[in-house]
Symmetry: C2
């Protein structure tokens, strides 16, 4: 395989206060790096765009460090080893890691993992069989929830619905026992008002708030947790990293048997990544958003 | 003991939208009732005023039913059996139950319990050795917290402090691992912003919100629970009713040995109950608020 001298990558050049603009990013040409001892050079096939990346654009403490100005944007990728100085990986291996928005990347850290192409298409290593899938798997804790509930009984558009409380009551006439929060804001307010006694709330993310310039105001609803004995728990998927193996095999089986469905939205070319990311935060994508490179 | 023909009691006559007024209550004269089979007549010595009673003045679903208009206000009392038609209680027994704001009351329900006067002064049966004490005991779950922490390292006045975030940071320079929420509102917002990774929040009550006419607005902070893996859990003390016995013995020992301190604010006369209750919601009391009768 012929490896070019230069490649393209996307760096962060400005921290947007609200919604990101394409001008907050720069697509630049850079030399393809050489792997050192213990490293591999990866040709990226798919770049994963995910809501958490908005958080890395802020210069604020989080569970992970922010992306520095002038640095390559962070993001999961799946790609192919094209040079290897690492005893555990050989040329041709398909690998996955958080190597950033770029066409070629150096890998070799402890989170670099081989992807089994026989399990499912390799693009799923950033989606249903990657971080987002693991998040869904471990978030509700009980696999039965994923199996039985992800046939989806109802769907509400929290941006279009005028009376979310009424819409939720109609969709859940017996109230809500488990709420998995990926959205935050008004839909979460409505869900919390409709919780049942001893309900559980898995706090996974709050995409509706990621572009907020300051803490958005909403009703204070924690008080309602008292009488209803609600348990709310925040989690990050990496807390369950030691259980990924069995989870991926289980989900791979569910995909094969048709029990678990997934959908991907694919954009071509790294220069499209900034615009696609802006659209992600607007909810323009339908499935897992990926950028296909090269 | 001579029992009068009539006694005084306090009934709810109006549901206040915000802060209660004395005119929302009526002190009225009524015949002293006669106990039927399985019942006792209790001469009330102490009436307990507690923030949850504000919730019972609302015509809204809660974990307990509201007080009806014209009905005696709900509240815990400790008193003396003066007539008994109940095999389990004799004249002279000191008992405790939620028998309402009145000088004489009929008891005999499953929650009527004998108070051991040798354990501590009987007024504590509505305080440190009653519902509020049990709430504190079971809320943090670990007795070590009650033992070690209730020496209080710092105290903030959430109504007087101008910058609660800064004051909390100064008081808790290493952040907050456990937050026991009895207040809600701005102090809770500040506490939530200062939580540590894997912090726990026991949601017990939110007195600052009980007079609110609508859900008060505040910053939406559930999103911060994600990265910090916070667990928040609401509870009601009665969830632990089967464990009260050992808890009260343990706390009685701590009181005797001086490890556990308590303080009472006592108001005399049932006609003072409405004004005292209004003051309770304003935070005017210092210790456990009791009305001494007879």
């Amino acid at each position: 395989m012929s490896i070019p001298k230069t490649h393209r990558r996307v760096v962060l050049v400005r921290r947007p206060p609200g919604e990101p603009a394409e001008s907050d990013f720069r697509v630049e040409e850079a030399p393809v790096p050489e792997p050192k001892h213990g490293e591999v050079l990866v040709k990226v096939h798919y770049l994963s765009l995910d809501p958490y990346q908005r958080g890395r654009m802020r210069d604020a403490a989080s569970y992970a460090s922010p992306v520095g100005l002038g640095e390559v944007m962070t993001g999961g990728v799946v790609g192919e080893v094209v040079k290897s100085e690492h005893a555990g990986f050989k040329v041709g291996d398909i690998v996955e890691d958080r190597l950033g928005w770029q066409e070629y990347a150096i890998g070799g850290g402890p989170s670099l993992r081989k992807v089994d192409p026989s399990l499912a298409p390799i693009s799923t290593a950033n989606g249903v069989l990657g971080m987002p899938g693991m998040t869904a798997y471990f978030g509700p804790k009980k696999c039965a929830f994923v199996k039985d509930e992800l046939g989806f009984d109802a769907c509400l558009d929290y941006k279009a619905e005028k009376d979310l409380d009424a819409a939720l009551r109609a969709a859940c006439p017996n109230g809500i026992d488990v709420y998995f929060d990926n959205v935050g804001g008004t839909i979460t307010d409505a869900a919390l008002r409709n919780l049942n006694f001893f309900a559980r709330v898995a706090l996974c993310g709050s995409i509706s708030q990621y572009n907020a310039t300051a803490a958005e105001m909403g009703p204070r609803l924690l008080g309602t947790f008292v009488g209803k004995r609600v348990t709310a728990r925040g989690f990050i998927v990496t807390d369950f990293a030691q259980h990924y193996g069995p989870a991926m095999r289980q989900m791979g089986e569910w995909i094969s048997s048709g029990k678990l469905k997934y959908r991907e939205d694919i954009v071509d070319g790294i220069d499209k990544a900034p615009r696609a990311f802006i659209g992600l935060l607007r909810g323009e994508n339908f499935g897992k958003l990926l950028v296909r490179l090269g």
